[in-house]
Symmetry: C2
Subunit: 387 residues, 2 copies
């Protein structure tokens, strides 16, 4: 059994790359943005909403799904696609990041991470092998290796030690996946035999540690490579610099995924530095707080100046929210706490993100990416963000 | 200026009536169910959801809209239809019921109801005249007179006194509307000149008080008549009896609206007794609590027996939720508190209610209502409700 995953690079424009990858559940055009569907749904969204805004792939959080409803229950449903009614590609993370950020009483050793659920205190052990097994049960199209997540700021020695451990864990993840692929699955119900696996480059903001981590990870041979441990508090110019340098150390013929990033500007800037895939809670979480991305910059819909504003949220946007409702109505829904407002806001923010990705792909295809980038950065910074 | 409202009765089958009414924002087929859109949205729903399930008219709550965002702000938006982006018919209540059930420090006199907002304590005065003015600003297609709401159980004398006051208030409401219609609008921005006005029959469970209230209300001459003050705790057989007797005292050529009722069985039973219009929070509120109406009776989706149930919520239902998702997934969304689940549940419950109304209309049209009624009551009572 081998991976049904493949990646094709169609065009380059400067550092920016246009391509697509194939998975058992369909094709994804890159550069791609993946909305985050933490608990088996992108918050407030339904499948047809995501299809309408043009999402080709979503992300599921292994940590949350492991806790509720459990990976074994999902496997008995035939995997995550069948369970949540999303027939298109899914990427799952390894659960590591949430263990480091959410779980209680965690204890990290070379073996893996012992922790207790933040919901009911029940005990779990996440190892490189079990992270692979859980994701095999979930049956995502792309699984991620378990990595150790470093807090920012970190000392160079800690970054190096952590990257080394992540590399050893990555090797164990790959070996476990090879074992599952060979048919030696034991009690693991593999619900998507064509699942790909991506390695993750760590190393904090220390470029030589990043370079070594990239080399060690690439050496293991994954279907794609992620850059992890960024957007954790470091200055944005350092983030861009690490992304650009690290991307150079990754194979040109495989996809590159920048984890957990970012603002619309970040997407454009990191595409310019050779990134093909992104995920971030920003568009969905910000929407629920009334923070909306528009072609003229960010606004906060709770601002009193929108109380009697009959115009659409973003005159340049063609999404359902902008076609149907006014800023005054969206502000009202926010002020009275109606979740209809959260859903309409989320629909718009995701439209904005996914439209941005489409415009990025068009620009690369037309070899006008640099001009697009300059114009985009100018337009989105026209309004300063409301708090 | 006269009302653009008209009602046509197309068929009768026993006590059940098939008809339609015309409003400035379109036609509504009766018997009709009106989803409740308290604060300018049916909770968790969007306009296209309501259109998809077949809602032809929704209800807006004057009390909530008066408090937030305010009737004057809505009038400046061009009225409620424009403000909320719902181009189809809307009925508004008078605000009286919420003043009696929600507001703080209320003081009821012959003049009207003095109260304080349950949100911020600010003071308001709702009189028969101001209830008409507020609804004129909202511009609903059907406005309701202000009535006094009686608690259950009530003494006969109290019911009589209250019904008499409601009749005096109804007269003042009608006179105020006539004044607005004559063009003497003062500072009231009338956003829907074709707005109709319904009177309300009160009288608790005392049939002779009801009969007198009906006669007094009909005497004032409204475009339609509502039965208020039921479904407030009285036994269901008493409610059915009062509905049936009271309906007989209402004009056959005008619509009859039973306020705030009820279960699917109530709708069928009250159609059998001559009712044409219903509203109730039950399908939407129950959905958010995981209580779902199906062709086989009520279920509560949080029940553990659904954890691994891959079947649709209701095999007989064609709604988006039933077409797309399993009971196992809906249970998961409920258990983890995702509002996507509330929305999917609401979509289904409203589909069930509005499908029931369609089936009622079909049955009346085919003169098979009595058979439909027997089969419906048998099927929905097949499962006893989960708690």
């Amino acid at each position: 059994m081998s991976s049904a995953f493949s990646f094709a690079l169609h065009a380059r424009d400067g550092g920016a790359r246009l391509g697509e990858f194939r998975t058992p559940h369909g094709v994804v055009q890159t550069p791609a943005f993946m909305p985050v569907g933490t608990q088996g749904t992108v918050k407030t969204m339904r499948r047809h909403d995501l299809e309408e805004v043009g999402a080709q792939i979503i992300l599921g959080n292994t940590y949350h799904l492991l806790l509720r409803p459990g990976d074994e229950l999902i496997a008995r449903r035939g995997g995550l696609h069948a369970f949540i009614g999303w027939p298109h590609p899914i990427l799952t993370d390894s659960g590591g990041y949430q263990v480091f950020s959410l779980a209680e009483r965690r204890k990290i050793t070379e073996a893996g991470a012992e922790f207790r659920s933040h919901i009911d205190g029940s005990a779990y052990m996440l190892t490189p092998e079990s992270a692979v097994d859980i994701q095999a049960r979930l049956g995502s199209d792309i699984g991620m290796v378990l990595d150790e997540c470093l807090a920012y700021p970190a000392l160079r020695d800690d970054a190096e030690r952590s990257a080394d451990r992540s590399a050893r864990w990555a090797k164990r993840c790959r070996e476990r996946l090879d074992q599952l692929r060979s048919g030696d699955t034991g009690d693991v119900a593999v619900t998507n035999p064509g699942q790909a696996q991506f390695g993750i480059v760590q190393g904090g903001v220390f470029q030589d540690v990043r370079d070594a981590s990239a080399a060690a990870t690439v050496d293991l041979g994954f279907e794609g490579y992620a850059i992890g441990g960024l957007s954790v508090g470091e200055p944005v110019d350092i983030m861009y610099s690490v992304v650009g340098e690290t991307a150079r150390h990754l194979p040109a013929d495989q996809p590159r995924y920048l984890m957990g990033t970012g603002t619309p500007e970040d997407l454009v800037e990191c595409v310019a530095r050779g990134i093909d895939m992104f995920d971030c809670v920003m568009p969905t979480r910000a929407a629920r707080h009334g923070q909306l991305f528009t072609s003229e910059g960010r606004i906060n819909i709770k601002n009193a100046r929108f109380a009697e504003d009959d115009g659409p949220l973003d005159p340049a946007c063609g999404c359902y929210t902008c076609r149907t409702h006014s800023r005054a109505y969206l502000r009202h829904l926010y002020m009275v706490g109606e979740t209809t407002g959260s859903a309409l806001n989320t629909l718009h923010n995701l439209s904005f993100y996914l439209d941005t990705m489409r415009r990025i792909r068009d620009a690369i295809s037309l070899r006008t990416f640099e001009r697009f980038r300059q114009e985009f950065l100018r337009s989105v910074s026209r309004l300063s963000p409301d708090s």
